[in-house]
């Protein structure tokens, strides 16, 4: 959790690892989360992103249908970037999403849960469909070309990079879950460490 080897080896990335712009964004996000957006801002467990531009994407769902964020207008959205070979962060985030749905009760039916793969090379539509369905038949898996994936991630300020391991490769990626309200406005980002109960509270506050 604190080992020096966790600093990505220079040159291993196609993206610049310690991107100063990302650092700036993250620190301003942290500041926003600390201060809120004024005295009336609701107290959130996650980072309050109200006022930040909402991202967008142009991807395909696992039935091959072209999808943009606007297609889910009218529904609150929980959006997560990940990859199916991930041994624990992605399954833990998706398992938490199931728990959150459970805590929301009847309101959960409106919620749309989107999982965008950052590893379209290995995550074929078939694997992505089987994977999301294994968690919850309602979860929506989205994937695109390398270029579409890059554009989607950039638009949500999501960082990802391929990292070689001994015999294969893994993906570093931002592990935030974004909350977008039914009007299509970005509201908050839930940190990976937050409990399902905290996430459900934020959803009730915001959506």
């Amino acid at each position: 959790m604190h080992s020096p080897f966790l600093h990505a080896p220079a040159g291993a990335a196609h993206d610049h690892a310690p991107d100063p712009r990302r650092r700036l964004l993250l620190s301003s996000l942290a500041l926003l989360a600390l201060t809120g957006c004024g005295p009336d801002a609701p107290k959130l467990h996650g980072m309050d992103l109200s006022g930040m531009p909402t991202g967008d994407f142009q991807l395909q769902d696992t039935s091959g249908q072209e999808r943009r964020l606007a297609d889910y207008r009218g529904h609150p959205v929980m959006l997560f970037f990940g990859f199916t070979q991930c041994p624990d962060i992605c399954p833990t985030a998706l398992t938490r999403a199931i728990e959150i749905k459970g805590l929301l009760g009847a309101d959960a039916d409106k919620l749309r849960i989107l999982f965008i793969t950052v590893d379209p090379e290995r995550d074929t539509p078939e694997i992505l469909r089987a994977y999301t369905q294994a968690f919850d038949p309602g979860f929506i898996g989205l994937r695109g070309t390398a270029e579409q994936t890059r554009a989607a991630a950039q638009s949500f300020k999501v960082f990802y990079q391929k990292v070689p391991t001994g015999s294969s490769y893994t993906m570093d990626h931002t592990a935030l879950t974004y909350l977008i309200d039914a009007k299509g406005t970005l509201r908050a980002a839930l940190r990976h460490q937050q409990t399902a109960e905290e996430c459900a509270q934020d959803l009730r506050t915001l959506l």
Partner: protein, 165 residues
């Protein structure tokens, strides 16, 4: 084993000897306690998954490798969060301080099975061998039987750890 003739008595003796040998192997490893070994089930064509467990070694040691027929490559990994970015790295080993439980769990250390031989479905038993080195750098091999939990198994599914942080 192949040198033993198939006379019933000899065969019976061989079975007994084998049983004794196995017991001895396990007994020899009374130093390492392995709790709740489990592996996360996969969907068809998924290439990789993680194995988790809790290790308590009575004498200081180090987990230096893991082997399994379930996958072409078996690696020991550490997962960490940095600025909300998840990073996973292969580690050369995991120290096992004397008497201290070391958790391999979601969000931390895990054994990674890469290029799986086949899909793992909930309830499957996956055989692994832990290679543990003692303070004198003597290696020993400890068998583990990990049971597959569903893909959506949470970090702490056992009842007694339900809300442990």
């Amino acid at each position: 084993m192949k040198k033993i003739s198939i006379k019933p008595l000899a065969a019976a003796f061989a079975v007994c000897a084998l049983a004794l040998f196995n017991q001895a192997a396990v007994a020899q490893d009374a130093t390492l306690k392995i709790d709740e070994p489990w592996v996360r089930a996969t969907v068809p064509n998924q290439h990789a998954t993680g194995v988790f467990m809790r290790l308590t070694s009575s004498a200081a040691g180090r987990l230096v490798a893991v082997e399994s027929d379930a996958a072409k490559h078996v690696e020991v990994h550490e997962m960490a969060m940095q600025d909300n970015v998840m990073k996973m790295r292969q580690v050369p080993g995991i120290d096992l301080p004397a008497g201290q439980a070391v958790e391999l769990k979601p969000g931390g250390y895990h054994v990674m099975l890469i290029d799986l031989a086949r899909q793992i479905t909930p309830g499957d038993h996956i055989a692994l061998t832990l290679v543990v080195e003692d303070a004198k750098q003597q290696q020993r091999r400890v068998p583990v039987d990990a049971i597959a939990r569903p893909l959506n198994a949470s970090a702490a599914p056992a009842a007694d750890h339900a809300h442990k942080k």
